[in-house]
Amino acid sequence: MNTTTFSTIVAAVGLAVLAYAHWLGVDYFYFAGYTILQFVVLATAWNILGGYCGYVNFGTAAFFALGAYSAVFVHKFHPLPIPVLIVIGAVVSGIVGLGMGYLTLRLRGAFFSIATLAMAVVFQTLVVNWEYVGGSRGAYIIHPENVEFAGYKVHYIEYLFTLMLLLAVIAIVTARTIERSQLGFGFATIRDDELAAEACGVPTLRVKLIATTLSGAFMGMAGAPFPYYIGYVQPQSAFALDYAVNSIAMPMIGGTTSWVGPLVGSILLGSAQQYATVTISSAVNLLIVGLMLVAFVIIAPNGLIGLVQERMRAWRKS
């Protein structure tokens, strides 16, 4: 299937989801859906570096929060439409991704992961001490109840949901396009064997920097609308470890070698978390992530996609 056909299908599915949500007309669906879609974007973004290249980034929260705080900063300075803030968030987090890559990509394995985690702590400390964006007290963003489009009034949460849905569509199409491109092959060689990749002519440092920039930019995009969704941002919530843990767990559960994995993982885990939040308590979230990770490491180490592929291979052989 070529990229145009695939993009059309994903866009059509997106539209169908939007139409269904609109038909349902329940605000809660938008609230919960927004969070799940936000994780679709984060997990897909994480997977570009973590899944395709094999570099486990523990700093998702930093990139996400940078997107969110870019939006807060711009909002305080001069409020702009959210799509513009998303672009700004992407640029800021993309540049930080590039910088982080340049500083840390000489490290491998656990050392790289620790460096990314440390980077998140550094950025959190900076934000806590930055009074303009609210410091440790946090910042309030008051959004209007509705947004007007050509005379139509759209409920604000529906607007945010639509934006996040659009971002998820863009992230998925980008991830799949990369997978089938020369760049995707380059990413895979880095995951498999960097020394051999260099010997084959792959400019590994450049390819890795593209991955950190792209991955960071998408995380920043997911973070930019967050202050408008939550209404009150404070460093502890924007830099929460949940983002890092979830965006690693979701691709792991779904499968890291293809765009389908993060999508399936985030829908599955995201929905389970939303369900637990309303039926049991929001504190159960991380417990669910932990239990599911343990279960998947035992049952399906290559994620759901890997499990399905294995079964299909066995079925074809028999």
């Binding site: 092959f185 380059g186 895979a188 498999d192 020394l195 051999a196 990749a197 260099e198 590994t204």
Partner: protein, 244 residues
């Protein structure tokens, strides 16, 4: 005729250990050079310095009239240097055809500035796999291969980059006699196509039958360089291998 590869007085240390101590080496276009030496004599370090996996601390490497010092490994591959690894390092998650696609995409395409069609790339992968007799396994993953097939894949992948000089680092270690013959035949065939080859090997029968010239490294120094039959009789070489 000017040398294709000109290694001039290169040195490399690992902490206090001198791995390469002022090595000079010239390789002429189309030549088949054998490089031997006991374990730990610096053969692989020399290869790594020539190919850019390691950077030499002193001296210089010239290839095809260009200075290679300071260039990254992939840039040297783009300029026509290719190597196979002592322990095969295939891309495990890819099929054999995709393993060969990497140098085609990243080296041949970058060098020629050509945009091959998907069909062209597939055809070239099949051609290379046929050359090493692995065409029937094009869609298999490297884990399905035997040792000798793995070595052949390693050579095919190095060849896919269309190099001027191929450095085969112990491509025959651990293989049976007939398998060694297989690899040797392949290397000679490549040389006949005009590719200069440096063969690093411990198996003397293979080195002797393949090489037109032989260089010997011992403890990071080159102690002999010349016709194979003369070199193996050199008293210093005999001493290095057998002892006094």
């Amino acid at each position: 005729m000017s040398a294709l590869l000109h290694v001039d007085n290169i040195g490399k240390r690992f902490g206090g250990f001198v791995a390469l101590d002022g090595i000079d080496l010239e390789v002429q276009p189309g030549e088949r050079l054998g490089l031997i030496g006991p374990n730990g004599s610096g053969k692989s370090t020399l290869v790594n310095c020539i190919c850019g996996t390691l950077q030499n601390e002193s001296g210089s490497v010239q290839f095809d009239g260009h200075k290679m010092d300071g260039l990254a490994a992939h840039q040297r591959t783009h300029r026509g240097l290719a190597r196979s690894f002592q322990l095969p390092r295939p891309f495990h998650s890819m099929t054999l055809a995709d393993n060969l696609r990497i140098p085609l995409l990243y080296t041949v395409r970058a060098r020629a500035g050509l945009l091959h069609s998907a069909g062209d790339l597939d055809a070239r992968c099949t051609e290379l796999l046929t050359m090493v007799g692995l065409d029937k396994k094009a869609r298999h993953k490297p884990r399905d291969l035997t040792q000798v097939e793995m070595r052949k894949l390693e050579l095919a992948r190095a060849m896919a980059a269309e190099p001027k000089l191929l450095i085969a680092d112990e491509s025959m270690a651990g293989l049976s006699h007939s398998e060694i013959e297989d690899i040797l035949k392949l290397l000679v065939q490549l040389n006949e196509r005009g590719i200069t080859i440096i063969l690093i090997e411990h198996i003397m029968s293979a080195v002797m039958s393949f090489s037109q010239r032989l260089a010997v490294l011992v403890s990071g120094k080159k102690i002999a360089d010349g016709k194979p039959e003369d070199v193996v009789r050199d008293p210093e070489v005999v001493r290095a291998y057998i002892g006094q």
